[in-house]
Amino acid sequence: MKLATQVLSLILALSLLAGCATPRGAPGALTDLKPGERPALATDEAGLWMAMDRVEANLKTSGHVVTDPALNSYVQGIVCRLAGPHCASIRVYIVQTPHLNASMAPNGMMQVWTGLILHADNEAQLAYVLGHEIGHYVRRHSVQLFRDVRLKSNATLFLNVLAGAAGVGFVGPLIQLAALSSVFAFSRDNEREADEVGFELMVLAGYDPHEAAKIWEALLAQRAATKDSQPSIFFATHPPTGERVATLKALAEKTRTAPGELDLGRERFLAATGPFRATMLRDELRLRRSAATQLLLDRLAASGSAPGEIQFFQGELYRLRGESGDDVKAIAAYEKAAAAGDVPPEAHRSLGLVLMKARANARARAAFFRYLELRPDAQDGAMIRDYLKRLE
């Protein structure tokens, strides 16, 4: 809350400074951003862009960004497919954090958090959300919001703003981005407009329009499962309302598409994101919100991809939750994972740990031996060999 206030303070302080350089007057309706367009230097919009340029510079050098060229190229490719002539102006940053979020700054800095990638079923769903963010960018919603905040603020607030803005330099990139996301809570009209743009862009790009409503439905279920734990920044700024789902469903029904034209991009999505799924699931598990994670695992299991890996993480969820009977469920999940074949070596280690606690020593030893066989240079090899000695 304090950080959000600090960033709000920065924006308001900027608006005050910008007010010195910009002639006052009703901004009027903003025209769409043209491809390659930058705001004139002596405008409040240019000030906002400069502030975002600084945030972007911090983000680039922080350790949070996923630097893998293949994944970055894949997501940037979707953005370019959607944004067409705006492609060159939009820079994608994939941020490794299990929280579900995507956002677009007015200067063309797009963040895609790995939590969003993990929760999308296919490329069409991810494309819809990216298209929605492109909608905010092209329609210059951040600038609209910025001007609204300035017009609604009173003198007392401005004084507080100047005092608060002094601390902004200490705010780290991830906190800044999270706080900025909460500041850029667009109006319902802006959200509706971005939904429409996102929908149009995905249809023009040839994606299945029915997927737009599906990702919101999944997010509604996710929100219901996490209602009493950590509220998502994304949900705060993009409320997944029933009205939103109904509108997108109705739009999809009206959209005329010929058979064979609808692209889910599922295979491409799985090929590009599959190598990162284990990391993303590990990050998700660390949130220790078992109900929401269970929902996600159910969806992934139903999709049929990487069954061994999904079963392994199902076992991990049981092992970490540690409720009565979870040890038995974990053993069953690890054994199912091992049978599926595409299981990471760590599944054998986890199985060994649960079996060791259950005093099934022979089976625990077999699992640990298998782990060391598959991972001869395991970082915890010395510890596992110690367990093996104790189990003799």
């Binding site: 350790g63 949070h64 705010v171 780290g172 990139p173 660390r286 220790r288 540690g322 740990l353 915890d380």
Partner: protein, 192 residues
């Protein structure tokens, strides 16, 4: 109703008012479980319940944290963490039957509560903690401010409570700076 938030603030204010104290380079007792030779002139700074925190250059850059006996069912980090963080009762808990592998995971998940990312452990191995059978591992992560951190964790379960020493610092400069001194501090542990 209005008094409740004020009452909740009291422990925070008490912690905030606790003085920074210079640690003399003579043998120091950590709770009533063990003692160490500090090796350096650390400053003891205010910390969460159940922890002692020493630093040379500031706790955000380098620190030795003594975790002084986490009981079964307790979280490693108690007290307020950040807005939106799970309450104490929903945080990862220590269990007396935990293996060192589970404890390494407990640390990672506890550090994740602070929105640290890219948390990894390495080199988990058995090691004596004083005369007790214990464990040791290293941990790396990126703070919400984007700073890359490294830590060395050594600990043991003593009388059903988790005791650990966590030396952490900014990976680029501060962690290597005092590492040798901390290694000596760890070998100086004597159970009381």
């Amino acid at each position: 109703m209005r008094t409740l938030p004020l009452l909740l603030l009291v422990p925070v204010l008490v912690i905030a008012c606790a003085p920074v104290k210079l640690i003399e380079n003579t043998r120091v007792s950590i709770g009533d479980t063990y003692s160490v030779d500090p090796q350096l002139r650390w400053a003891s700074v205010p910390a969460r319940p159940g922890l002692d925190l020493w630093t040379v250059d500031g706790a955000a850059l380098d620190s030795v944290m003594f975790i002084k006996g986490v009981a079964d069912g307790e979280a490693v980090f108690r007290g307020p963490i950040r807005s939106g963080a799970p309450d104490d009762d929903k945080r990862p808990k220590f269990r007396t039957e935990m293996t060192p592998s589970d404890i390494a995971e407990l640390f990672v998940d506890s550090y994740a509560l602070f929105r640290n990312q890219k948390l990894e452990t390495a080199g988990l191995r058995p090691e004596k903690f004083g005369t007790e059978d214990g464990f040791r591992f290293e941990m790396t992560w990126v703070t919400p401010a984007g700073l890359e951190m490294q830590a060395l964790v050594a600990g043991a379960i003593i009388k059903k409570r988790l005791h650990a020493v966590v030396y952490s610092g900014a990976r680029a400069h501060y962690f290597p700076k005092y590492r040798d001194a901390v290694e000596k501090l760890l070998t100086s542990i004597k159970l009381q």
